[in-house]
Symmetry: D2
Subunit: 436 residues, 4 copies
């Protein structure tokens, strides 16, 4: 990983901000809401709150606090997510059977670790701060990832409930789609990947050369209105648009529309964190699997961008040059992607609406080395059977997204807040049966 430069007091200030943001997101949720795991991929809210705390306790306090003892021996076991090197851990699929510690007890745990981290930072010399910075900063970004997941997960939990509960807020007014434009990119022998000077995960490294043929990127995401056209044209009934694995899922799981859509008396509704509302045509189509994204692109006679095309295109468009660290600054009010604002000649909806599926498998960059120790399990061991998504989404916390960020999910995942930006031109086109 790479890191930013920090002093102890700015580290502490940032620590407080990040920790407070998690609690703000959990605040609208009852103890019951915070307990449930609605499917294996989902974790309970209170588990997220505890796990990010465990991360600081394990990787910061355990090795640096004088006379360290865990807050609770068994939390060590309960709140380890997947770090084999840290020891045995509680089964992921059973996180939802743990009723104690409850939501309140997790708050007590958070308070305890917060105090101890603050105490640790207060007493350090600058050399030790420098040594600890990479892990603490990783803890910030780790907690932000879980902030995003917390929202995706509680969205799923609430979606299972026929009472149609609301997390917060109200939906956007009806909007019609703005026209789709294209941004041309020249390609050539370009560089992608992070180049240090600020924080990055290890999987964004090293910065390296890659060859791109000329291509173009759509200037906004595919809209709900366009998705309805795809559906009306038999999108979910015609195998010729689909990857074989995708078609098998369509049949096995009866996909007929995006994940959170439901037809009531002939009208399509969408479950959102703001409640269940009629599908809004101007908003980005969201909660799509890679298979759906790819099938849509094939139907549209276009393709998905590679991750290199996405990153180079965004940087070339000037959206990462002077502001490498961006995010959804407004996400304390709205928890759903919004309509593209009118505009032309530049990419829109890059970071704050939907994670964008690429056509790239999630694999190591040339020369990649995972970090040393248990932290090395953070990214590398998941480089198998997943696809890269780029950008960010309406649930991404402020200051968390950047152009080089590599998000990843299995191709069949739908509960993440994902969407589609089309590409066209020299690079790979549709990897499946011709529609001719």
């Amino acid at each position: 990983m790479t890191t930013t430069e920090w002093d102890a007091s700015s580290l502490t200030r940032r620590f407080d901000e990040v920790r407070a943001h998690t609690e703000m997101l959990a605040a609208p949720l009852s103890p019951e809401d915070q307990t449930v795991q609605s499917m294996a991929d989902v974790s309970p809210t209170k588990w997220h709150r505890a796990h990010v705390t465990w991360f600081f306790e394990t990787f910061v306090l355990a090795e640096n606090e004088h006379g360290f003892a865990p807050f609770q021996d068994k939390y060590w076991f309960l709140f380890n997510s997947y770090y084999e090197a840290v020891g045995p851990r509680f089964s992921r699929a059973d996180r939802g059977v743990i009723t104690r510690p409850g939501a309140h007890d997790v708050g007590v745990y958070r308070g305890n670790v917060d105090d101890r981290v603050r105490g640790l930072l207060a007493g350090l010399d600058s050399g030790t701060v420098e040594k600890l910075t990479p892990t603490i900063e990783l803890g910030f970004h780790h907690e932000q990832q879980h902030q995003e997941l917390l929202l995706m997960d509680i969205k799923h939990v609430l979606s299972m409930n026929p009472m149609r509960p609301v997390y917060a807020g109200a939906p956007d007014p009806h909007t019609d789609p703005d026209a789709l434009g294209w941004v041309d990119v020249a390609g050539g022998l370009v560089e992608i990947g992070h180049d240090a000077g600020s924080f990055s995960f290890d999987n964004e490294l090293p910065r390296h050369q890659t060859w791109l043929e000329p291509y173009r990127l759509a200037d906004r995401l595919v809209t709900n209105a366009e998705w309805l056209e795809f559906m009306a044209d038999g999108g979910y009934e015609r195998s010729e648009f689909w990857l074989s694995d995708g078609w098998a899922r369509v049949k096995a799981e009866g996909w007929q529309a995006p994940f959170y859509w439901e037809q009531l008396d002939g009208v399509w509704f969408e479950h959102t964190l703001h409640g269940t509302w009629p599908v809004n045509p101007g908003l980005p189509a969201s909660h799509l699997s890679h298979y759906e994204a790819d099938a849509y692109a094939t139907w549209a006679g276009k393709r998905l961008p590679t991750e290199a095309e996405w990153e180079h295109g965004v940087v070339a468009d000037g959206q990462a040059a002077d502001d490498r660290v961006v995010g959804n600054l407004a996400n304390t009010e709205s928890f759903h992607p919004r309509a593209a604002q009118p505009g032309a000649g530049a990419l829109r909806q890059v970071y704050g609406d939907c994670w964008e599926w690429t056509s790239s498998a999630y694999l190591a960059y040339p020369g990649f080395h995972p970090a040393e120790g248990a932290i090395g399990e953070y990214n590398g061991k998941f480089m198998s059977n997943q696809m890269v998504l780029r950008g960010g989404c309406a649930l991404t916390p402020p200051g968390h997204a950047r152009a080089t960020y590599r998000n990843f999910f299995p191709a069949g995942s739908r509960w993440a807040l994902s969407g589609v930006r089309l590409a066209d031109g020299g690079a790979p086109s549709q990897p499946k049966a011709s529609t001719a």
Copy 2:
């Protein structure tokens, strides 16, 4: 079903008692505890609290309250357990994903229905009381069944938690087993089944003749000490003791001891509602499947009683003659079976310790007719692939057990509070491979 005679005020008084008992049992449980469903057989505490309320709302208020409207339309759907005739219902296995209504909201629902039932009863003439009595009294016994299930279910929920949470109370002191005696029963052409004059479920009817060869019943339940002998003699490793289906489960699920036992540093511990404690040798072995009960009996050179043998034996022993309605009067303090009290010549531990597996399949009595309407789904449709248990257990609420009561579970069930009483003599012996 058969019923007792009631007037409106005694019905109301009993209604209040039964309803209050449920809330007393739920009181030690947090909102998180009340939300979780740890396996498909288990229901969340707050679901139990709501479902028994739905039962009164559906079967008492809906047809008799002037200007009836459901408290909440969707509760109709959420809290129906299995009544096809009442309409569609929420998937049983997904009860644990419902976070709203929460534990508090369920309390509000209970209060509302309580008030309306009391109001209804206050305004009725005696003819209408008589007409409603069977359904209301069924509602009492239905709620009592769920009181027992609530405790069995929360025991399972808490057992999944490595924090080893305690529901309430403290375990009994170490006791050694009392000697086992036998009670002889003559048999002949006897009568079993309920004979009216007080409440019974439809499956206890009609009272009818059956032929029994002479037999004898053990005067107490099999103890933990005896179960340890069975284990030490290879009970879980030797196929010759087991029914074929049972042996398949032993292998598939790795059974090595009763359901809630766990070996720590060479010592067997048992999870109870009072916490996790070393196995107490004088207490009844409990949380056993029918397969284990049957294998134990084969190992011991004995057999399980038929349900007719059990019922006739208990009645002949004088334990149902003058007190047809019995139960675990003390179960507000202890939630675990207790050691048999010294004594001789009569059956011990009949109603208040463990439900006792019989060798009888759960089938209709000769001449059985299910009740009319949706209530007819209460018992009859489950007469398939289940075995009968008789008696009662430490979790059975006061006034709920009786000699003719037919409980039933699939042969592989282990989360119910079940135990073993041996039989011997003229009737069926071991239905599997000889141990010779």
Copy 3:
């Protein structure tokens, strides 16, 4: 078990007959037909042919042949069905992956064991013959059971093939149902079970008393025409007719008609060993689960008989008095149940058409003791989660059926040649929701 009296030459003659019958049944089947296992319940034809041979090798030759050595060491492992006491065995569900020994090799194995058994019998004194008779006679009946299974199993194998292959023969001409009559039976304290003097399995023992209320039995099986009425009246769509487990299967597996029925252009066809033909209205409805049999009886306002009612009724009707050993004498020509012959006042279609589901669970008779040794695994260990069927069917070999015979299958089984005879009167009626 009980046995008939035999001398060595009549034993040898019978041995030759039984062994030849198996080969005659396998003769129309190609090596490919004989190899396939189309579901876990089904065994390949060549496995049946080898397993019954293994039975004689293991239980007759191994203990009695001078200088015994197995024909092939690994056959010992491959062709053991379920005898734990004999040692490890090949996984049941994987019988269909064994291509060698092939059909021809199995013939060689059969010939070898045949010669050795004949040689053994030729050299025995009469005392040893008497000692071996029970096992050899069990071997006859065991092989006959597999003759029946071989046909049920190959019927299933061929049914999976869209080429619609024919095993043999041609279907019966179209017939209309004969009128249904009823036979009254007085009941009382009756005896059932086998009473020695000829062969029986251990599960038919001991003969014992049981009490029966007066009842009546339908004089023929339910017909296809009647089943079509049940279907037309929503039989597979109305939960009120069904046991809860049965209804769950209807929904999970999409049952809409008997197992081997298929609708083509609005006409119902049935797969038979004679090919696929339009459903013949006068023939017995067949290949039904216990759940379907029970649902039909409920729909018809009747019930299934208990096994005691069936046996006592058949004997009282004079159909087992002078001819205890009966069977489908003509089953070398026809492999499908046939229409009831006109007639009145007596039970029809008792042994040669369809195994008849009863309402009795398969459990031990009072005083039952399994046979000693590995043979004791034959029946007893399966007394769990199965229902009793009585009579015999069109695939039952000559001389194999009798009034006391207890066949058994899980309630959801449909590939066996099963049908429905209704009962009415004093004994148990519908064990599920009222249809009122």
Copy 4:
């Protein structure tokens, strides 16, 4: 796809060669052997023989033969593998339940189609030959792919059999591993992919530029001796070497050694088509999943090559320059990888021993377009959740391998004849936890 130039008579001669090779491979297999499907991935031998015939019937005869009628209507359905555009097809996982047509009938089908294809070719003018060439040549390569699969599949079928059957031949004598050397490659902006002038599949196209850092390739495959070292060092017990998905498989399926290895009395044996023999240390380790290949590389401090590195390295090494079409010329005698021949400075075991796992996901090349029509389903729709393998193996038929060939399997597949060649240097290293 790209094609070679052919005239009608050379096409016919090649057709005869390819078709005869399939029958030669099937010749040692009995009808029983040819019928069985031992897991969903495996197809029966007679299905392979029929399917490749169906391919010629469907794609060559149906559109070009005057008065075409299918040989058998239902073969159209039975022998379609995965072409959605051709119509419904028989379930892949159930291929093993089809006993008719049998092995002999499939031979008749083959003969019929052979005659008709020869007849068609005999009557064509050269323009039509040119038009048909791409499809006919694809048919050759398609049949060759199935020749390889036929052998991989029957190897699996026979491996399930405790009789330890032999397909053919005898194993190689014991050999010790030859020393491992390395071949350096300069990298830079290189070209990969097929460049026309001879046959290729569509997925090898288009030829395109890609950037490679300098790297080196092992000059031979990893040996059994080396694999035993990996095992001895806890290779299958230490999570730090494994991708997360791989580790989950290790635990779920109990992997402890390569797929076909079995330990008997402390000695490792390997199931081969030549029988079961002690593991031969000098031979390539084979039948490994991508997960195992990757874990081994991590353990060894090396990595797998990307597919671009593999292809460019092999071509740079001079092994594809003058002989683009290569293969296992001797595979009519040996069906197992052989020891690397001593030698230095050049790559060994490139085409005829084991398919070599790369670190590249199977995705579209930049600018890829699938072929038009149903043939377009050949490759493109499988570009998801698979990894690329390069080279060829001991089961690859003569003339089938080439440097640009992209084979692909899911990362967990083990029944294919796969092995490991290590890479090192500038490109991606271990994508998982550090072993430090």
